[in-house]
Symmetry: D3
Subunit: 327 residues, 6 copies
């Protein structure tokens, strides 16, 4: 099972990291759906953004700087490629301006990979893409727990009368029964809102909402304890909006909010998720045209590597009784 | 009629140009439709872009740097505010992702102003906005001549199956009878294409197409002579895509093509249009997030000022028998 | 009193935030002095900067990104427009190089609004502008308490022999009797200085000075407790220099100092000021040309919104006995 | 022979150009040497730069923006993929600081492809990479004609005592007998030099040198006539240093010189080369970190597409007796 | 006389150009006034700018990139250091906001060097600095001819009531008798103006004004012929405002105007000035904060090198009867 | 001993900080080796970088922004120039691509200054330069303690087979006996690695390694306590890689790692080092081309000023018995 070369080809291992075709971490590019432990997919759809556009270049930007990453995680003491067999599946076909067709493609594509057993890791694109991902994964796994890091709850009912935008996916997901809000958590909400009680709307839908202000009060450890308690043993979809981070750490995004979190805080929270059962995840709202020295895309890429590490740790644990590896 | 203060308020004339609220050239902001000689409107719609998005900030960017412009045109020896009474009408409501509703709003808004006698000068946004403008103006004026400066003909039939994108407006305009292609000209086409004969498609539709290569062969004087001959006495809509210019002169745009024209060449061509009967115009595809030192928005703003100057020269000539001014 | 439309016009509420003329938060533009609860004014004066120039574009930059802000504050659970009636008064006429005339204009303009009962919220410009603001407001309200967030005390006696620069306003303000230093606080001082005892100078003038080093020792809660104790019941002018923040959070400024504060820390401190009697405030030293992805201007705009929220909370409390609103 | 799908896969043709893994023009990625008409290779080596470093990201930058290019050339009325079967071969392994090993790898890699009949199109990297390319191709084809567009002759003997830098490759190439200077041309030299007679050195080596000043005197048509006369029927290596262009058109490079050429001029000159027998080419010195809105990389990518078009025209002509195609 | 080491120290000649302390072309730094053929001085004064500020960093920016320049001029076939003995005199003390004191210092400093026989080459700063330079040099040499390259005539009477700004120096210079307008030329005027006849004002003062439009009509050769005829044998001050260039070539400036000249055109015009008697020159309005990849500062530095080359050619000619050199 | 003018010349003290030739803090430039308390040297060598190149402009960038620094340290209540006599020695001659010669020059140059009693403060350049510095200083002082702040341990054995790169200096330093690893500390390691146990390698060599994760667990106070305990009374070389900081605080570097430290944390740690015996230090890996608003170079310059302050405090203490000063 440990096929190191599936992750980084021999050629690539010895080449300087600044060279080579930019797949995610220079994984093999495999556009054909196949049996794998995970697949990285791009969903360059940004039609639904309410302020700045341009996250369509998010997948490209994250892949580009992902070449800087080395293959092992020193915190988890693991090299994911020893436990996971994955590929970069390229980008899903989307059509600017045609939300319905784009979402349909995303659902179909993600579902096809999930049916082969692969955990899809999707690079956005704006946050509207999570809805079709959830349609795909809930059709395979049933209603999911949502673990949601973001500055915004994205549970508004509509934007300018539009029901499917980057500000509405999670209300839709509850309405469509794709997620179980009572086993779901939203973490990090902050910033100006439309009405003083905007965040209560998400709570009425059933979500556990832990705002940035609350997080600073109870601490990040306690935040994650509550989140994990909420999630329990259920199958989890992890969605990470890069604007969870402060604009100093992630300037390249469409609707930044000041007073956010550091990359160390974000990474630290993700690292506590070794016990969850992850069936899919995405990282969205990276907008390279406004980035500075690639710090936003680097953060995105590194957090995706943390997702991969979680999958590897999970795989290591679940296979350790019957399996031992040498390295 | 000559109301200098309508153009730049007294307060504004004496204030440093770096100060003040950014309407176009600090014109009065008048969102209500009213009788004026011209109105500047923003149409911040960029859903239809085929490569980079972000021209939704075009109107804001052009207005911002327009504060640098002084009120008189030394070439035409005219101060437009002495002959024209105009306002900045603000932005037209558009909805990202909803091309139909956005286009409907643009048509309604432009038509309302045109019915009051104002020449609309629209700041894009992507090139798809010209179609609803033409719908508005042809409903008021009948089928129009199109005078089109651009690197691309934008007469493709569809993009990814979509009929209404920034690559298709002029085929639609012909199909809908909004323009008379046989009195219309497309100038400046260049760059890579989908099929070797792509430009012949526009010619089949009836357009006179003068490519960048042809322009360099026959010269810019002859180019404009042919264009003016083609247009004749008809009512003209002038549409200017900023990518007519070389990316060195206009880096802030969505689908740049190298080997384009300089700002001096563009300005020089526009200045030969004093005899045309202009009923509307737009300047599109300015994408500020990719601009450098505001050179693209400055070019856009200055060319819009050339549009205004053409209107003023025309007004001066048509009113000179019954009117003389001192200044 | 609650006139929601005074804050964001109906048109604007339903329009995408990326559109529209850029007044502060798209408030109505009212250059004529009139009775209002508050007025936002720009003072684009940067002659007095000791290192980088360019804060003359600060008001424009802050207004531009303020379009991203939504109208409600989730921390204070308040929508300021329900309690406050305010406008954007545009920019005050300043003259580069002529400090005296510019300061005179600022004083006259701010005073005129203050006399109508409006709390002026001024966008700089360099920090020299606070002196003429204090002249205006102390003439209306008597000597004020100064609540000053900054990396620098700005109490030097002169710069290159010049008495009125962005490094000297608060010494002048004490000398002129505009503020009562014994009821005033300076918070956040750090960075290299001219003499090891530079900060003692401000203390000798009577100020309570809490340096960044001291803040890190006693904590931000205690810092604010001491500040509030110092201020007591007096009328307060709040001045916020954006370089209080670390350059990572606010790169667009003229004399940055490393080891500063985060936007979360700044916001958190401001939010504790609900009990002060604010008669004026400003936010200065934003230099957009050096900004990155508008993070500095966004921080500036959001902090100004926090100022507005403080005013609203204060208004809500002081009117609650005789007034109840439904929402 | 005409295998359209070899150039742009079906999937890719219908997908928006902003999506997909960035190989050059989204050609198939084939790291294994094989029989093809051409191969695009990256040589991300920048150790030898004398001023700014960073061209190691040139291949990545050119590939990235090449996604904007459409498949047909309207000037030559040709779609290269109908005549040529090519791939992106990825990057050649180079080692920063180890010129010898890097050059050896470049030679080996280029030679392997050339022996399979592929015309190598190499993306630099600094100009030192042309030497190992010439070693490879002259070993296959014998001494070559050099057609060299550049601001600098790169025929210095050494830099700081180093013999193999980006300022010396063509002196070395003559010394090693890789090129025949008497059938070679250097075009575009300008800028400050070390000694007033620096350019005479290249002439003494045998090169025809046409400086920028001379080009402006005799015209670009005559320049190319002289170049083609010089080259005659010989096998040609075409090397294009992006600093041939003016920094306004190509800011992203290491040793820019003002008073250069426009992209229209460069493209126009290349288009006159339909009769030369091209056995290899490269485009070097693109430095993305200093680019503005990708205009340098776009220029680089478009010029490489012109190289491809030349190969296609040549193929079309040489095969037209025995072959006719419909499209 | 030919002291090569005075220009570039031996150490510096052999060091990579990216290293070393940034004086202009790494000339020796000599703050003390002394006998030299020329001195490079910075005048980082930008108080008088009417739009963007920041040219105070112009001297620093030009010096920085001047390290890229090599010591010989291939057009004039001359290495200035063989004929000229010069230094970098550092910056003149200026005081932001205090135009009078700053101008007084500039006059004193420039005069002191001129009295020692040095031709001062001053790096701006905004264009107001030319007035105190002219005061200095006319006090030494008598009234001068002005050779002025610029987009703006800078002969307005005042700006916001201020008499000494970057828009007024040449009216003041005529009034003060520092220059003889009838032996002076202004070249390159373009852009929007305050009144249609603005440029006639300069003509009324006596200047020969050749606008950009006229230059394009008569050609650059004829332009320079007329300029040289006008100047005749008189002593000349050459002032070059970087906004003579198009913003594509010089984005880093304060009041850019589109439709300007290329760097090749500017360089070509300067190269025809070998016969003028130059007693001083400056290059102004470079604003590094808005530059792109240092193309503006590089242009500025290269044009200053052309100034130096003119001085060297002149020296070579005037000393050739009694002196011959070998190299 | 206290020679204030040796630090900032009188001229410079009174001049605006934005003016003057950019030596470090405008120290006198003295390329000749001489007796001084300290010397600032640039080592613009970046051949050995494994990802981005360009730190060759690090010394220039740090010097440039160092003009913003004022001469006194308010934390230590000291003005270093009162206790230290130092100069800027300019840049050491390096040769791109020739690691051996460059390192040899660095060793010779640093040794020469050290033998004169100067503490060398070297500005990188990439981290490979520390090895030749250690060779120089250990030859003068014997094996040293290393105090190493960095995101990476830089103790890999080789990179692509190369032994002398920016990832290998400290393994080489141990092998060559230049440092005593058992009295050395590495602080701040984080980021992805090649093998899960990469950091154990450094521990096997003898280093005390305190990773970023450990630092967050034990606190920064305890971190420094352990470091100081380790170092004891030995002679220390302090090396600071700017990527110790988070990319939000220091974007301009070659191999950034997210989840790093703030500038306040870095500064705070350095300030606890008043008791160490510092014989040399460097600050490396600053890459200005990727900086944002000079925040990275400003951080670098300020930390170097903290180094200087440590030297001054040490000097003050060691000389206080026989010396008292007033100021």
């Amino acid at each position: 099972m440990s096929d190191e070369t599936s992750f980084l080809t021999p050629e690539v291992t010895s080449m300087p990291r600044f060279s080579g075709i930019r797949t995610f971490m220079r994984l093999p590019y495999e556009p054909e759906v196949q049996e794998r432990d995970f697949v990285v997919l791009g969903a360059p759809f940004d039609t639904s953004a309410s302020y700045r556009a341009g996250t369509r270049f998010g997948p490209e930007g994250i892949r580009r700087i992902s070449s800087l990453l080395r293959p092992a995680n020193v915190f988890h003491k693991i090299k994911p490629s020893e436990f996971l067999n994955g590929v970069d599946g390229g980008d899903i076909m989307v059509i600017p301006g045609n939300t319905e067709a784009s979402h349909r493609n995303i659902t179909a594509h993600v579902k096809a990979w999930a049916e082969k057993g692969a955990v899809p890791i999707v690079l956005g694109g704006d946050h509207s893409i999570t809805l079709p991902e959830l349609r795909a994964l809930s059709s395979v796994h049933g209603p999911l727990s949502l673990l949601h890091f973001d500055a915004h709850g994205d549970t508004w009912d509509d934007y300018w009368g539009e029901k499917y935008t980057h500000g509405t996916p999670f209300r839709r997901a509850v309405e469509e029964g794709l997620i179980d809000p009572y086993r779901s958590v939203q973490i990090g909400m902050r910033g100006t809102v439309y009405h003083p009680n905007d965040l209560d709307e998400a709570r009425k839908l059933g979500f556990l909402v832990i705002t940035a202000d609350e997080m600073r009060e109870i601490g990040l450890q306690e935040t994650m304890r509550r989140a994990l308690e909420r999630i329990g043993e259920s199958k989890v979809f992890l969605t990470f909006d890069i604007d969870f981070l402060d604009p100093a750490f992630a300037p390249g995004t469409g609707t930044p909010e000041i007073a956010g979190f550091t990359s160390a805080e974000a990474q630290g929270m993700l690292r506590q998720l070794t016990d969850i059962h992850l069936v899919g995840c995405d990282l969205v709202e990276v907008l390279p045209a406004l980035d500075s020295a690639e710090i936003t895309t680097l953060t995105g890429a590194t957090l995706v590597f943390e997702f991969l590490s979680l999958l590897a740790v999970h795989k290591q644990r679940t296979t350790s009784s019957s399996f031992s590896h040498s390295k």
